[in-house]
């Protein structure tokens, strides 16, 4: 796999991101010229689709809101139907730095799924309390399942190639946390090789991260449930 823009698609699920999406697209185009960018507009109420199209991205628009997992699955389906060999998924809020895409695509030489992970040396992202426990629990469990060290299993910054794109276009879990946890378990179980590449993430350009203790606790419980379901699922 070469680090060229050929047959690579970057999937940006977007919901009401009209303010930040143009900048994200511009940065991607600057970083990897000629790469195709697909914005999956998850039925935004604002001008996300219009802004994205004007910035030069391909746009598919869902008729009603399906959530980020659903939007990503559509992205993978688009990649399959248009014959892309590599698919990169990232967030549209500017958290993910496109500088790392080259490294991630390069790492696909020895893996099917590459996760851009925080806590792996790069950057100084910090979380505390229940949310931290949840992330620890997930990364411990999933590292054991994937038989490789994974430090940031909920990262939405990923690259995958070939048959796995096809697999995700059919099986990408659409439930909350399933789209991050379940995808790893499913990929591993179907025999795909997973690797991580250290990245640093930037503060998001819009929106606020959920941080209250109650929300973090719910997050912990839901990750436990997601993990359990992922493990017992056929």
């Amino acid at each position: 796999m070469t680090a060229t823009a050929d047959r690579t698609l970057t999937i940006l699920p977007a919901w009401n991101e009209a303010e930040s999406i143009a900048a994200v697209i511009k940065e991607l185009q600057h970083e990897i010229p000629g790469m195709d960018i697909l914005v999956v507009d998850d039925c935004s109420g604002d001008a996300t689709a219009l802004v994205a199209r004007e910035a030069g991205a391909k746009v598919v628009r869902l008729p009603y809101n399906l959530g980020v997992g659903g939007a990503r699955r559509l992205g993978y389906r688009y990649a399959v139907e248009h014959g892309y060999e590599v698919a990169v998924q990232m967030d549209a809020d500017g958290q993910h730095d496109p500088r790392y895409i080259r490294d991630m695509v390069l790492a696909l030489n020895t893996a099917d799924l590459v996760i851009g992970a925080r806590f792996a040396g790069e950057g100084e992202y910090q979380v505390r309390g229940p949310r931290q426990w949840a992330m620890k629990l997930l990364s411990k469990a999933l590292s054991a399942i994937a038989r490789t060290r994974l430090t940031d299993t909920t990262s939405g910054f990923r690259a995958c190639r070939g048959e796995l794109i096809n697999f995700y276009s059919r099986n990408f879990p659409v439930e909350y946390l399933g789209d991050t946890v379940d995808t790893i378990v499913q990929a591993r179980r179907s025999g795909y090789v997973i690797r991580q590449v250290p990245v640093s993430m930037r503060p998001r350009q819009g929106g606020t991260p959920s941080a209250s203790p109650v929300k973090s606790m719910i997050y912990l419980l839901r990750s436990g449930l997601a993990l359990l379901l992922a493990l017992v699922r056929r």
Binding site: V40, K58, V59, V60, R61, L62, P63, Y64, L66, G70, R73, L74, R77, Y78, E81, V174
Partner: protein
């Protein structure tokens, strides 16, 4: 006697109601058949509430009514689980359809652009 009047009318209203829904094609046949069977099974019981007493004493349950309540709760739970399953499936189906629509619209937009490009060289 008054109890029997209450149960019997309830049973009859249920039977007529379901039949009417089926007649107006508001219920899929599979559900309609199910509820008709239930209504038909409940009807004799609503006229003679002591009908189950023999079976319940055989099973070691104090009264026929307890057995009846137990069976109806178990049955309703099964129906609720079935409906959850059905709605999950429907959600998955509409999800696939909306994906399909999004992809088709993107294709149409692309074709339109191509056509407009060809018209104005």
């Amino acid at each position: 006697m008054r109890l029997i009047f209450v149960t019997a009318t309830t049973g009859l209203i249920m039977l007529v109601g379901i039949f009417e829904l089926l007649r107006r094609r508001q219920l899929r046949e599979k559900y309609g058949a199910l509820w008709l069977l239930v209504a038909l099974a409940v009807l004799p019981l609503s006229f003679v509430p002591t009908l189950l007493d023999g079976l319940s004493s055989f099973l070691g349950i104090a009264s026929g009514l307890s057995l009846f309540l137990f069976l109806s709760i178990a049955f309703l739970l099964a129906v609720a689980a079935h409906l959850s399953w059905e709605s999950s499936r429907l959600e998955e189906e509409t999800r696939s359809l909306s994906e399909e629509i999004a992809l088709l619209r993107a294709d149409v937009a692309e074709l339109q652009e191509l056509r407009e490009g060809a018209k104005t060289p």
